[in-house]
Each structure stands twice: as C-alpha cells, then as structure tokens.
C-alpha cells in the first residue's frame, strides 16, 4: 500500500520518461550541476561514471558534453561508464563492464583517455540494502572508498568527485576522511532526492592529494593500506586491531540543489499540473515504476506466482 501511494507523486519519474532518461536519478545530477556547474565547463573533456548502470548519469554526461557544450572539436572528449552489470549503449559513452576495485580497470580507463587523467568522476552506486542500518551505511561507504581508490589513480589535480551517500550515524567519519584529499567537501541534496530518504551526495571539489603520496591499486591491499601515507585513516596506530578510540568526525556544509520552483519529490502532484518545460498537461497514465529487469529472486517470484510457495504445512 505504502509503495503504491508513492508512485503517483513521482513527478521526476514521469519527467525522466518524457525526456528519455533511464532513471529519475538523472535529475539529481542535473540539479547538482545547477548548483556547482561542474559539467558546464567547456574545457571538460574526460569524465568517468562509476557504478553507472542503468546509465542515466551517463546520459546526462553525454548530453552535457556533446550537446550543451558542443564545440568545433569534440574529438578529445570522452565519457567512460563502468559497471559490473552490462549496460545498453549510450551515444558518446564508452561502456566498460568491469570491477572498479580491479587494477586492470584503472589501466583500461587511462588507456582509453590516452594516458591523460580524468577531470570529473561520479558514482551513483548503492549496494543491496539489508535493513541493518549500520551495515548498509558501512557497505555504502566501502563502495565510496573503492570508487575513491580508483578515483585517486585517475583524477587530475583540481578534479571533481561526487558520490551518493546515506546520511547515517557515520557520515561525519566519511566527511573527515575525504577532507584529506579534497580542498572542499559539501553534502548536497538535490530537490529530486526525497526529503524522506537518507540519500544525499558528497561533492568533493579541487582534488589535492598529499604531495609525496602515490596511489597504487593492488588487489591484495586493504583500503587502509591503500591510503597509507595520505593521513586518511587510522593515523593513530599501525595495528589491524587496536583499543577503541574516538574517530575523527567532521560535519560539512549542507547545500540544497535545484531551485525552489523545481518539483518537490515529497509532494503529491495532481494530474492537471502543467509541465513548465513543454507546457503540456501531464499525461494521466503513468507506467508503474520500473521493476528490476532480472532480479536474483526471479525464480522465487515465478514459483510464488504458480502458487508453489503457499503455506501447506
């Protein structure tokens, strides 16, 4: 019931369909850009979208770089989208089905960029949510740390990194850690991200790694080992187990992105609302929110449909 009542208020979902985006999350990147304009720079050439599937952020990147910022010579521009899952093709986007933690992926990206570094890296990835809040937040932060490891290897100095976060109990820990690598860290919440959700985006501006630190991906190294020498984690000790200590935490600035007249993702809109872009009355019929195409529990659903999972004992 709760789920059903959410569908109708989802104007962003409707807009995404209309504008040809694969997911409503496209508007989150667009609204982040409205605030920080990192995609409006005509000199932006090399961007990487991590955990890209189904590809709505890559679509935004493609439109920004090759349509809105179109120039005489777009030959140096390249968008690389990386995901473990296969993705259907997007104009001007090179899709890479790969593991972001693997060194091969990093080599492949640099190869595609002709050995130049990226200027912008983003990640909208999120893990399976278990319902154990501490675990979910931890795994999300590990995903960010994985993305960050790769990012430190491929991002040029002064570059931008943005990633999805959950603002739970340890978010201040992450803020503190990222502060060692970037000059400015902001927690940004686009209006298209529901106020009732813990989701937000960490915007890391002006990449500035410690001078004498050379990041090097190695499958046998832990996250801590990777960041050794850049003061990022557990600077207090050298041991893998240590007596409990108060970890560094930091609260960063919060910024809402998207103008106040943007749609409110928490509001219920009536079907006679006019779309300010097309000035058309929004269509009444709305396809149900897209289900995962090939969920792991597909077989279980089939069995349930056939009545094979009903209680008989």
């Amino acid at each position: 019931m709760g789920k059903r009542s959410k569908d109708k208020r989802d104007l962003y979902y409707r807009k995404a369909k209309e504008q040809g985006y694969r997911a409503r999350s496209a508007f989150k990147l667009l609204q982040l850009n409205e605030q920080y304009h990192f995609l409006d720079d005509p000199n932006l050439k090399r961007v990487v979208d991590l955990c890209a599937a189904p590809g709505s952020w890559s679509q935004v990147l493609s439109r920004k770089l090759f349509v809105d910022n179109k120039s005489e010579d777009d030959s140096g521009k390249k968008i690389i989208a990386v995901d473990l899952q296969p993705m259907s093709p997007i104009d001007n986007v090179t899709c890479l089905q790969a593991d972001i933690t693997h060194p091969k992926t990093f080599n492949k990206i640099l190869e595609l960029f002709g050995n130049e570094k990226a200027q912008f890296v983003c990640s909208d990835g999120a893990p399976d949510v278990t319902g154990l809040h501490d675990l979910d937040e931890y795994v999300q932060q590990q995903l960010i740390m994985s993305a960050l490891q790769l990012t430190t290897c491929i991002l040029e100095k002064g570059g931008v990194f943005i990633a999805k976060i959950f603002r739970g109990r340890d978010i201040d820990l992450l803020y503190s850690q990222l502060g060692f690598l970037f000059k400015k860290i902001i927690c940004a919440k686009p209006r298209s991200s529901r106020g009732t959700s813990l989701e937000a985006f960490i915007v890391c501006l002006d990449y500035c790694p410690p001078k004498d630190w050379v990041p090097k991906l190695d499958l046998n190294k832990s996250v801590t080992e990777f960041f050794e020498g850049c003061n990022i984690k557990e600077i207090h000790n050298n041991s893998i187990i240590t007596k409990w200590y108060e970890e560094d935490r930091d609260i960063v600035d919060f910024m809402t992105c998207g103008s106040l007249d943007a749609y409110d993702s928490d509001a219920t809109y009536h079907i006679d609302v006019k779309d300010e872009l097309s000035n058309d009355l929004l269509n009444v019929s709305l396809n149900p929110v897209q289900m995962p195409t090939n969920p792991p529990y597909k077989r279980a659903l089939e069995l349930k449909r056939k009545g094979k999972l009903t209680r008989s004992i």
Binding site: I241, T256, Y297
Partner: protein
C-alpha cells in the same frame, strides 16, 4: 542521560546450558530460557551493536563482535557485569564473524574483505590470512574449526558465490556457484559434510563440503533468508527470513546418492519483517530466533510431536474394527464432542461411538432412538452432556459417565416451531444449563430452555419475539441476560426475567460477517464489558449498561475497543493467565491460535478450513482441536508450550514514526503511550517509569498505509494520520487496570474515493467545552484544511480549505497569540509560513485563554487567507517543529529542525503599532547535527530542548535567552532516529521515549 530500557533489533542469539544469550543493541543479555527471566544485561560496546558472538567450547570465554568492534571477555564477567565497554577493541575492517580455535586459546576474525585475523585472547594479532586476489566485499561468512589445524572459511560474496578456503594453506577449495545475487548466510555442518548457503534469490542450497557439488535447493521462503543452522546431528536445517518465518528442512537421503532438502515446518515468529538471529538447543529441540522487532522468540521444534499424542487420526474403518460396528460405504462423520474420558462421535447414519483416551479404543453406544436425522448441537464438558437436535423440533440430551458409557437419555419436542435450524448450548451453574432454539420462520419465537441437569427436565421455557434479520451464531449469559451473537455483526440481548420484553439488537458492530463469539471480560464501575469476535477478523470490546437498555437509543452500549486481526477468519477469543488476548480462527485451510496482545502465532494446524466440521475444546490445561476430513477424524492436542513463548516482547517490525505519551494521567506506576509505525500499525503500550519496562496492550491495524503522526490531544482522545488520507480520532478508555482500551471514534472525510494523498501532520485547538475542537490537517499536495469536530454528533465539518503552493507540508501548528489564531506551516521549501485565520473560523478567540468559544455562529466554508508572513529558515525541508507561547511578551517561539542539519529558533510577534504578525529567525545553528534533525522537544519548563537526528545522537540544548547552547549529547543505538516524546514525573525528573528502528526509554 541514562537509558532505562531499550527495545530494538536483536541480531544474534545462542543457547548455552540453561541460558539463552542475546545480542541486543550494544548489549549482551543472559536469559533463563525456562522462565524467560532476564538475568543480566551487560554493555559490550560504546556505540556499535553486537552483531554476533561465539562462546568457547569450554564455556569460559566469549568473543563478541559488531561492525568494527570486537571484544574478548570471560563469560563469567558477562554474567555479572553491567558494562565491559573498556574492553572494546576496533578492527580496521567490518567483522563478519568471529570464532574460537579448537583449543580456545585463539580467535579467528573474518573481515568483510575476506581476510582472517588470528589473535590471542588479549586481541594481540598473531597472523593475518587471506587468499590472493579475493578481497571482494562479503555480506556473510563462517569459519569452521574442525581441528586445531583444519580450519575452513566460507566467504559469502556479493557476486561471486561462496568461496571456501583453507585458512592455514590460504588456498581456495571451492567456489560454490549456483545462487543468484549476494550470499546472505553460509554455514557448515559440524561434521564437515555439508555447507548450506542462502542468497538474494530466496533459496537455500545444500552443498557437499568435500566435492563442492550442489546437492539440493530448498524453495519456500518468500523473501530474503538471513540465517541458517544445521541441527539434530546434521539431519535437519533451520532457516529464518525477511518473510517473518522460521522454517525447518529435513536433509533426506532418497537413494544412496540423492539428497533432498524437504521443507518440514513453518513458524511465524516475528512481525512484518526481518528475523536475524537463530540457534537450536539440540537436547531440548527448541529454537530461538531474534528479529528486527526486538522480540526474542522460542520455537518448539517438536510442537506437534513432543509428547507423541499430539496427533491422532482415525478412519471410519479404524473405528469400525475397534468398536466392532458396521458402517455403510458412504458413511461420514457428522459431529463430535470432547470430554474428559475422550470423544463422542456421531455419524451420518445416526450411529454414536465413543473414544476412550486411556485405552485408545472405540465403543458403540446402543440407542433406543434413531439418530440419523439429528446433529450434535453442542456439549457441556462439566456435565458430560451432549445435545442433539433435528429439524423436526426434537432435542435429545445424552449423558455419559466418566468411562464414556451412556447413562441418561432424554427427548423434548417443541411442536410450535416450524422447524429448528439452529440450536446452541450454554452452561449456567452446577444444576442447570440452557438451550436456545431458532426457527427460520420470522414469526416463530426465539426459544430458550432452561434444563435441570440431573433430570434433563425443562425447568423454564422462554419464548421471545424474534428480532428481524436475526440468525443466531454464538451465546453468552450475563446474569439474567442472554447475549446472542448473530449474523451481520449483530448482538441480540434477551431478558430471561421478562419474556415479553422486546429483545434489543445492536447491529453492525463492525463492518462484517457473523458474530462468532461473545464473552464477558470485566466490569468497569459496575458496567460489564464483553469481547466480541467477528468471522471477518474484527474484534470489539463493548460495554453494555443493562440498566438503561432500550431499542430506541444507542447510549446503553459503547464500543470501547475495535481492531482487526492481521489476516484470516476469527472464530473466538479469550484472555490467558498473563492477561494476553488470544484469538483463534482460520487462514484458508490453516487453523491458528494467535497471541494478539504481543502478536505472534501460538499454534497452527492445516485442517481443511472453517467450512469443515471442527471444534476447539479444553483438555485440562491444554486445548484439543477436533476436525474431520471425509471419513477421517483427527484429534490435534495443542499443549501449553514446553518453554516460555518469548524471552522478550518486541514493538514494531519497522521504523517507529511517532510516539505520544498520555501525559495527563499516570497509569500503573507509569504512563500509557502510543507508537505509530511505518509498518502501518499503531501500538498502545505502557511503560513503568522506574525501570522502563514496557507492557503491550494492543496492536491496532486500522491504518492501511505507513503512519506519519500520532498524538494524544487530551486525556481521552488521540489522533493518528498516514498516507491514503487516513486520519483517525481515537477514544481511550483507561478505567481498568488490566488494560486500556482504544477505539476509532471517527475518521476524517477524504477528498476522493480512492485517496492517494498523505496527511503529513495535524494540530488541534479545543473549544471551551473541551470536547469539541478545530483540527487542521496538512497534505502532501500542499493543501491545508481546517475542520470542526462536534463531539455530540461525532462529525467533522470542513471550515476552511486552501493551498500553500505545490510542495509538501511537513508540519502544522495552531497557536493563539494576542487574540489571534495563527496557523503555522513548515513545508519542504524550508520556510515558515503564518496565516492569521482568526476571522475565517466561526469561533471566537477568548482573550487570555488557550481555547476558542462557540458563539453559535453559522458554519460556512471559507478559503485559506493569504499568509501574513513567510520567511526562509532552512535550506530544505523543515522536518520537525515545536512551539512555545510566551504570554508575558506576546510571542510564539518556534524551534525547527531541518534536513539541512540545522536547528533554528524562530520568533513570531504581533507588532503593536500595526497589529501585524512579524517573524524572524533569532538563532540558527548550522551544524546542529551531522544529519537530518528529526525531532525537537521542549522540556524543563521550556528551558531545554531535546533534539534527535539521523546521526543517532540525542542532544540537549539550553534555549534560555533564545540562544542554542549544546549541553549534553549521547549516542542512541536506535537507528533511523526519528521521534521523541518527553514526560515530566512528579519528582521533577524527565523521561524521554526515543523512537526509530526500536525504542529507547531514557531518564534525562
């Protein structure tokens, strides 16, 4: 700030000797599982939850772990200490599992990056083991210690299946591929023969540990599976899941080489969602489960086989050979009764046989009457009497002796009835019982015979005029009143002292079907209260004042409680000796008995469904269910549980969205409080203000969507609101000490027939009468409405309607300031908007008072006026507000907490010169929390403010002089912290209830 009690997710449970140890938030708890007594609770970690623990084989030491924390402690210290947090250690990575070595002098810790840290009992690292190039993140894993030098790691990965590796060789033995999605649990049998795993695909796979071969896949769970355990010498497997069930599976060897996982039993153990913890005590064959709802549940794995006599089945063939009677080929079992000696069974050809429970044998009963046309109407156990009736208006009464032999038979005929279609029996006292008879002819009387037990003579015959549209179904006797439950959710009241008095019928007690049971419960100020169940799943508690009873007015009764069971048909209910409400009925073919107070299933039996013949009888302290299928009869004994059913009761299966304490009146050394949850339910509970002990009374299921708010608006009314435009006004009855009652008195009209708006918040302002009030409701489409509630007519009348903009409104408040009635809203755009609605409502603001006066003005619908003042306070949504009206300086102070981590003090004044409302932010703390602030609550005479936020820190601020000075902060283990309420005790201390995923009770 001191924690008195906490109810929330429990992630791990284990049997050890006569105890159950439970990881409960940051604590380890020790219970005696035979008595359910909590023996000790020891704080293990400062902040992290204990996710798991292992007890060494010699029972001396415990390794506890959770997130990145780990602690190695003696079991003795856990049993006796209140806190061992100074022993907490931090690991570099999340700890998936921890286990002792065979000798118990070392521990192995598996981290989420598939590394095993070996350390001594002082947490000194001895070694780190891993397999090359396999550091992909794990959701699960186990370490199997077969001997001091044979240790295997089962690593459950996100996409790579299960990696089984040899710890000391650091080499991969198997990569078990066969699941789809993340592996959520993996375990081995302790003989090293099998591995069992489960994943996002909702199946369980049994693997051959030696060969890595996939042996069998178990399907059955309808959601993710979180835990597995081999038991009973590795012949059985048990699983728990997000579908709230615990299931047992037999590992069956068909041929020598074919092994099958066969689902054997299903137990519904937790509420709404996840079950995390699981263990089995093999010697007793009981399981313990722990869930997100905070419940720790014991499960009797031999529930239907423990004593061997739980299930008895007899075919007519069996009965025929045992009793030496002949049955015809198409003979069927027509009816049955249960007595202390055994059963009485009546067949379709009219034969009667008795079953002797001692000798397990059947005997025929020789009858002088042909009983073919009769059916069993009922029996009275204490009188060993069965009553038969037929449609020719004959009644036969038969008495058996204690051996089951027929000792008396009597027959009565009521010739004046057209035909008898319904006969019911009720015991009166030692000497008498009564029989009711009903004819389908509406002109026939409804008859009640009082029978003298020893002679079976009719002592008295009452003929009542039969109410229209009345088909009797259930019976209760209260003094001289006969209460007859009937179809269409009706209750007929017949006065046995006055046959000429017109029976009174209460109709449509709930929307529904037949009234299946009526039962006297208690008296409140001499007025009796009855529990009434309805086949459709509703149950009601109704108080009936027999002194003023009449058909003309409805004031003689009051429905003081109403609710609906989670699913299925309801056939009856009773209170057990722990004052818990027990209901029973059917869910399609399943008969169930359910503890409604604490919401868990007590027993169930697949029996074909309610349309078959069935009967639930007392059998000493136990219950026995008799049912038939075709020519078979089944006796299913449902024993009192072998162990306590729960070690700890939980609250809600999902997040608590709002809490309201009934502050006006203490109740049994504490307070009543309500919790409104994302799981669509509202709970009425009680907490003891000394130790924080929580007692559940009711789990109300009237809402069909996730709750937004609940609030006691005075000492007898509560309001709740949710999506689908649901807003209910509830009436509380707290006159009894056994339990409080709560019933929906009225619901707010919706804007369409199929509403999809969320009512985000509401506020009320009472009229002078203290019964009538105005209520404002705010909606997810920016609409604001104001209603008038009239108590006498029990109706909501719309007074005012309008729209702010298009954004969602999160909060609303009605305040009287300087003889003006202000409506204050805070939407998702971060603004505070104030409307002066004084002249838009037909009530007068009384100078100097906080209520409105009804001058009997005409009620007209007005439009929301333009706002008087609007100004930005937060960057995005204002999640929470609380207000304080200062009459000395004519101001309203508004405290606001935002999604932007900010906390603000906002002042509203009336400008004397212009009489205009002005508002401004007088203090803003930008980084008041690391995440969304979800609750602000004033206390201590409005000098302190308590804030709760999603970063799980509760903060106390001094707000004197319109400044925000943080005074205290304390971590709460309650995740998704979303709400708080505070009550001041008579002794001047404050108690706060803090809710989210769980509930904590703190003394401030």
């Amino acid at each position: 700030m001191q924690e008195l009690n906490h109810v929330g997710p429990s992630l791990c449970v284990k049997f050890h000797k006569e105890f159950v140890y439970a990881a409960y938030g940051p604590y380890l708890q020790q219970y005696n599982y035979k008595t359910s007594e909590l023996l000790n609770q020891c704080l293990i970690f400062k902040e992290n939850k204990v996710h798991g623990f292992d007890i060494s084989a010699d029972g001396k030491n415990v390794i506890a772990y959770g997130a990145r924390s780990v602690s190695i402690l003696s079991l003795e210290s856990i049993n006796t200490s209140k806190s061992l947090v100074d022993r907490e250690q931090l690991v570099e990575e999340w700890v998936i599992t921890g286990t002792f070595s065979k000798l118990g002098d070392k521990v192995f810790l598996l981290t989420c990056y598939n590394r095993v840290i070996i350390c001594d009992l002082k947490c000194n690292v001895i070694g780190i083991k891993s397999v090359p190039e396999e550091k992909s993140i794990l959701y699960s894993g186990s370490i199997e210690v077969l001997s001091e030098d044979r240790v295997y790691v089962n690593a459950g990965t996100v996409i790579g299946g299960v990696i089984v590796w040899d710890l000391f060789c650091e080499s991969i033995l198997h990569t078990l591929q066969g699941h789809e999605g993340s592996i959520f649990y993996v375990t081995s049998s302790d003989d090293g023969k099998y591995i069992a795993s489960c994943s996002d695909d909702r199946s369980i796979i049994l693997w051959d540990m030696e060969t890595g071969e996939q042996l069998s896949t178990g399907w059955g769970h309808t959601a993710r599976i979180w835990n597995l355990k081999f038991y009973d010498n590795n012949t059985q497997l048990i699983s728990v899941s997000e579908d709230c069930t615990c299931r047992t599976w037999a590992i069956e060897t068909l041929n020598s080489d074919e092994i099958n996982l066969v689902q054997k039993n299903i137990y519904e153990v937790h509420q709404i969602k996840n079950v995390w913890g699981l263990d089995v005590c093999n010697s007793e064959m009981i399981a313990v489960t722990a869930g997100n709802d905070g419940r720790i549940k014991l499960v009797d794995l031999l529930q239907a086989t423990r004593y061997g006599n739980e299930n008895e089945l007899f075919s007519l063939g069996d009965i025929s050979s045992s009793a030496n009677v002949e049955f015809s080929k198409d003979e069927l079992i027509k009816g049955f009764e249960w007595f202390s000696f055994g059963a009485v069974v009546h067949t379709s050809s009219g034969q009667l046989v008795t079953y002797n429970r001692q000798s397990f044998s059947w005997s025929p009963i020789a009858l002088s009457e042909n009983m073919e046309s009769y059916s069993i109407s009922g029996g009275i156990q204490s009188k060993n009497t069965v009553v038969f009736s037929n449609n020719k208006n004959d009644i036969i009464l038969i008495r058996f002796n204690s051996k089951g032999q027929l000792i008396k038979l009597a027959k009565h005929t009521l010739e004046y009835l057209a035909k008898v279609t319904n006969t019911m029996i009720k015991d009166i006292d030692d000497d008498t019982f009564l029989i009711t008879l009903e004819s389908p002819n509406p002109k026939d009387p409804f008859v009640c015979l009082i029978i003298q037990n020893d002679t079976y003579d009719v002592n008295a015959e009452h003929r009542f005029s039969k109410p229209s549209n009345f088909v009797s179904a259930s019976l209760e006797l209260y003094g001289n009143y006969l209460l007859v439950g009937a179809r269409y959710s009706s209750l007929g009241i017949f006065d046995l002292d006055d046959n000429h008095r017109t029976p009174v019928v209460i109709r449509k007690i709930s929307a529904g079907d037949t009234t299946t049971s009526v039962k006297f419960i208690e008296k409140q100020l001499n007025i009796p209260i009855f529990s009434i169940t309805n086949r459709d799943g509703f149950y009601d508690f109704i108080s009936i004042n027999f002194d003023i009873i009449t058909n003309d007015n409805k004031n003689f009764y009051d429905i003081i409680h109403q609710n609906k069971v989670a699913k299925g048909f309801l056939e009856g209910a009773y209170f057990n000796d722990k004052n818990e409400y027990i209901v029973y009925g059917f869910k399609s073919t399943l008969f169930y008995i359910f503890n409604e107070t604490n919401s868990y299933e007590l027993a169930s039996q697949v029996c074909g469904g309610s349309h078959r013949q069935w009967k639930l009888c007392d059998d000493g302290l136990n219950k026995i269910l008799l049912y038939n299928k075709g020519s078979n009869i089944y006796f299913r004994r449902i024993s009192q549980n072998f162990t306590p059913e729960v070690l700890r009761n939980g609250l809600h299966g999902r997040e608590i969205r709002d809490i309201s304490i009934l502050k006006e009146k203490t109740y049994k050394n504490g307070y009543l409080f309500c919790t409104a949850s994302e799981d669509t339910t509202v709970r009425l509970s009680h907490f003891n203000n000394l130790n924080g002990t929580i007692t559940n009374y009711w789990l109300e299921r009237q809402h069909v969507s996730g709750l937004q708010r609940c609030k006691f608006i005075n000492d007898e009314f509560m309001v709740t609101c949710s999506a689908r435009e649901e807003l209910f006004l509830w009436h509380i009855n707290n006159e009894s000490l056994d339990r409080a009652y709560i019933a929906v008195r009225q619901s707010l009209p919706t804007s369409t027939e199929n509403p999809d708006l969320r009512i985000m918040d509401f506020d009320v302002k009472f009229l002078e009468s203290k019964k009538d009030f105005i209520l404002t409701s705010v909606y997810s489409d920016s609409v604001i409405k104001v209603w008038y509630y009239n108590f006498a007519s029990n109706s909501f009348i719309l007074l005012m309607e309008g729209k702010y903009q298009t954004c969602c409104i999160f909060n609303v408040s009605l305040e009287i300031l300087n003889n003006k009635l202000l409506l204050i809203i805070t939407p998702t755009d971060g603004h505070v908007i104030v409307y002066n609605i004084t002249n838009c409502i037909p009530f007068e603001v009384v100078p100097g008072n906080d209520y409105l006066r009804d001058n009997k003005l005409e009620i007209v619908l007005s439009l929301l006026p333009n706002h008087d003042v609007k100004f930005p306070v937060h960057q995005s949504s204002i999640k929470t507000i609380c207000t304080f009206v200062d009459k000395t300086d004519n101001s309203v102070t508004l405290y606001t907490g935002g999604d932007d981590n900010g906390l603000a003090i906002v002042k509203l004044n009336v400008e004397n010169s212009t009489d205009k409302i002005v508002g401004k932010v007088v203090c803003f703390e930008k980084k008041a929390a690391a995440s969304t602030i979800t609750s602000v609550n004033l206390f201590n005479n409005n000098t302190k403010l308590l804030t709760a936020s999603v970063d799980q820190i509760v903060r106390i601020w001094d707000v004197c002089g319109d400044k925000l000075v943080q005074e205290q902060r304390k971590y709460t283990t309650t995740a998704d912290t979303g709400v708080a309420d505070i009550v001041r005790l008579d002794n001047g201390s404050d108690i706060a209830l803090i809710g989210g995923v769980g509930l904590s009770i703190w003394k401030l």
